[in-house]
Structures are given as C-alpha cells and as structure tokens.
Symmetry: C2
Subunit: 270 residues, 2 copies
C-alpha cells in the first residue's frame, strides 16, 4: 500500500456497506464511495463495495489483509492527512466490532496528537449482520438484547463467559458475532454450555449466514439442535447466531412456504 501526497485537508469517511447488496447500502455511503479518491479495506469488503459502486480508473483501491486492522487504520489516516479523500470500507456497521474503533484507537494512542490533525474523520453506519438476519427470521430482536463477539483475539474468554452468563441470566436475547472459526472451533460450544445453564433446550436460535448476499442461508433451530457438532460445523465467521430469550417464540403461518417466523414479544410477563 503506497500513496502520493496531495496536500490540503483530506477526508477519512469510515463507511459501512451493510449486508453487501446494493439495496441495503445507504445513499450516503454510496455517495462517499463515488467521491473518494481512495478506497481502503479488506479485499473481500472492497469487492463488495465494487459490486455496489463500480470504481473508476481514477480511484485507487488499497486492499489489505483482514488481520492488520491497526496498520490499515494508520494507512487510511495517513492518506487522509496527505489530502486524499479516503473511504475506509467495512461490511455491516463500522461501529460494531469494526474499523471505527480501530481508527479511534490510533487517534487516541499515537505519540504525536497532531499527526492526523489535517484529516477530517466521519463515520457512516450500515445495517449490521444481526439486523439483517433478524429481519429475515422475523423479529427476534424485538425486545432487550445483547451483542457479543465470541472472538478471543482481543479479549480473554473468561470475560466472554462472564458476559454470556450475565446476559442469559437476565434473560436478554443474545446475538453472537464471530461465533466460530477454524482457529477457534470450540468457542461456540463453550458459549452454548454457559447459555444452557439459563435457557431451555427448545429456545429458538437463528443462524444467519451471508444474509443479503447471493449465498444467503437462514436457519431456525433450537438450542438443543445446536449441541449437535455437525450443525455447529456449519457455523463460521460469516454467520451470526441469535439465541432467543425465555420469551422468544416461533410462528408457523399456514400457506407460508418460507418456514417459521421467530420473534420476541414486546411485552414481558410480570
């Protein structure tokens, strides 16, 4: 990743594409992608962006590996401070387990607080994976809910377990991001062990993978079903898992061939 200085005050727009389809990317984000001189992001996200807005030859695309978020953040800030008009691209919402916090961390911790003073930073939200999966499944997030990443790259698993225990104990609906990877095949199983202390085996669970993209898969299972290792093996980093509260229900509408709906009622019993 290299760049030429342009001079003047640049702009860093941290944009969220949403699920990845044209129809769910906000006009604001589209406009910023069109206007940017430079797109920065993980290659997969730049491919999604290019399917939404075709980049011109005048635009520079800087693809990075997904694992080096701090480097990507500094590179994007440097470009903007050099006068470029940068779109830093995430899928979903950049404010949820994504690049907005990575940029803030760099602004906060760089030894030179003036280093990126010439960069005008802004953040533009997108539809997050849990929202897209919830909409396909019905309304599982219709009542109080928690959003937890199961990745222990950046936090100890003990804090994840503590949060799962607290959230399940207080009967929140729980959306799990980064539920399972090849490097961490056991995280989901360990999470389910904690949830099983508080939730009935028949609790509805939504598995949403690549929702809003051509390969979309949405399945409604139960907590008990998910104990099955073969089913767990279908869960990966592109899946969001929504575990119902004690109140979450399924509805089977006659004549509706899309399967059951899942929802959490707005009211909670006394």
């Amino acid at each position: 990743m290299t760049s030429e200085p342009r001079g003047g005050r640049g702009r860093l727009a941290i944009v969220g594409l949403g699920p990845g389809a044209v129809g769910t990317c906000t006009p604001d984000v589209r406009t910023l992608l069109v206007a940017a001189t430079d797109w920065v992001g993980y290659g997969t996200y730049l491919d999604l962006a290019a399917a939404i807005v075709e980049p011109t030859r005048a635009q520079s695309l800087h693809r990075s590996n997904n694992r080096v978020e701090a480097d990507r953040a500094r590179f994007a800030l440097d470009l903007a401070a050099d006068g470029h008009d940068v779109a830093l691209v995430s899928s979903g919402d950049p404010g949820v387990f994504a690049m907005a916090a990575a940029i803030m961390e760099q602004l906060d911790t760089d030894p030179d607080p003036h280093r990126w003073a010439a960069a005008e930073v802004s953040i533009h939200p997108g539809i997050s994976a849990a929202q897209a999966a919830a909409a396909r499944a019905g309304a599982p997030l219709g009542h109080d809910f928690c959003v937890i990443s199961l990745s222990d790259n950046l936090k100890p698993f003990s804090i994840i377990e503590r949060r799962l225990d607290a959230a399940a104990g207080a009967d929140f609906v729980i959306a799990l991001y980064n539920p399972r990877s090849r490097h961490r095949p056991d995280q989901l199983d360990r999470a389910l062990a904690v949830l099983g202390r508080h939730r009935a085996p028949a609790t509805p669970v939504v598995l949403g993978r690549d929702v809003g993209r051509p390969d979309e898969q949405v399945r409604v299972v139960t907590l008990d079903d998910l104990a099955n290792q073969r089913l767990q093996a279908e869960v990966d980093m592109r899946t969001v898992v929504i575990v119902g509260s004690s109140q979450t229900r399924t509805v089977d509408v006659p004549g509706d061939d899309r399967g059951v709906w899942v929802y959490t009622p707005r009211s909670y019993p006394d």
Copy 2:
C-alpha cells in the same frame, strides 16, 4: 382508517426508514415506499417517509396514533390480506422495539391462523438510533454492548433493573432506548442509580437526540454529569443514551472543532 378490498395476494412490507434522512434510508425501503398502494404508520413516521419519497395521489396514507400498535398491526395485515401492497413504516429499525414484533404477535395470537394467509409479509431493516448516535460520537459500540428499553409500558421495572444490573456488572456498553418521558420522568434516574453501582462517575455517556435530522443534538457527558436533574430533563423519548463500559474512552483531537470522540477499544484487558 378504512380500506377497499382489492382481491388477490397482497404484500405487507415492514420497513425501517433509519434516522429519518434521505441519505440513510436504504434503496430497498425507498423502492417499497414507491411501490406501495398504502402507507400505514404513526403520523410522525409517515411525515418522515414523505420527506424521503413524495407519496403520489394514488397512494393512501393511513396515519395512526403511536399508542395503538396492535390495532395498527391488524389494520396493516387486513389491508395486505385484501390484496393491497402495504408499507408499514417505522423510523430506525422495525426489528428493534418496533412494528416487526407487533406484526408477529398478531400472526401468533389471532384465533384464526388462516386470517392473514393471503398476506406476504417481509421485513426491511434500517439504521437504528443507537447506531446513528454512535457514528456521530465515534465508536462507543465498538465492543460488546446491550440495548435496553427503559419503557415500562410493556414490562415491569424490576426486570429493567435486573437487566441493567447484569449488563453493567458484566461491563457491557449499554444503549438505552425510550429513556425518559413526561409520563415516566423518573425512569432514567432509577436506571442511573443501578448503573452507578458498577460504573465510575467519569464514565463517558453519549446523548443523541434526533440524530440525522435537522434538529440533531449529540452531547458527550459523564455518568456524574447526568445525575444533574437539569441535564436529565433534556432527555426524552427521541433521545438515545449510550453509557460506556469501564474501558470506554474520550479522545480530544487537536484542531478538530467538533469536540471529543468517544470510543470503546476492541480489546479488553486480561
């Protein structure tokens, strides 16, 4: 609210406008608003929708009071079952404390399971208030978070207190919806009392009101500041309150006249 039967299979699209500006409403929702024969919703939301897509004379607008969600849900389902192409309009995300769950409840509980079999129901998410406020403030939702409604219209306040206690105890960032109304001026104060058991007085708090609309107000205060009744009095049903975790920080960028950023680091200490 009256309607003429049209016959044939109708469509009920439950759509979220997002914060309420043209630039943050997804193209899918815009397309559905254009295509609908009927818009149904709380008057304020239909006004927001009409500012995004100007309704034609051929389209019927059915304005309802915000308090009769069950009636509105049944009316929208009846219209769709009669063959109309209905857009049921919410601001934000209809899946988060909004109409998607209200529709599911009717489908689930009506004594006649075939009553609305002719209505094809779909849900189309929007950017929710917490996401819009978070984006303006920085990245307060960059780590695990909870979303809790403080309204006790539909649940006992004891369950709200239990959830606040659990979420704060497990160090989640907490987004509060419906934090305070004229009818319930004390809910926020009672919530703060619970949060104060777990969080330092200097914990950053984001107050976002009407974010993305012309009257937008975003303020960054502390938990201690918010104990002040005069500040609390500025919080209303159009405000979302985001209370940081123990790790949430502020960043003051030199030369940036927008004030401080607020973010929650992606990593959590061991």
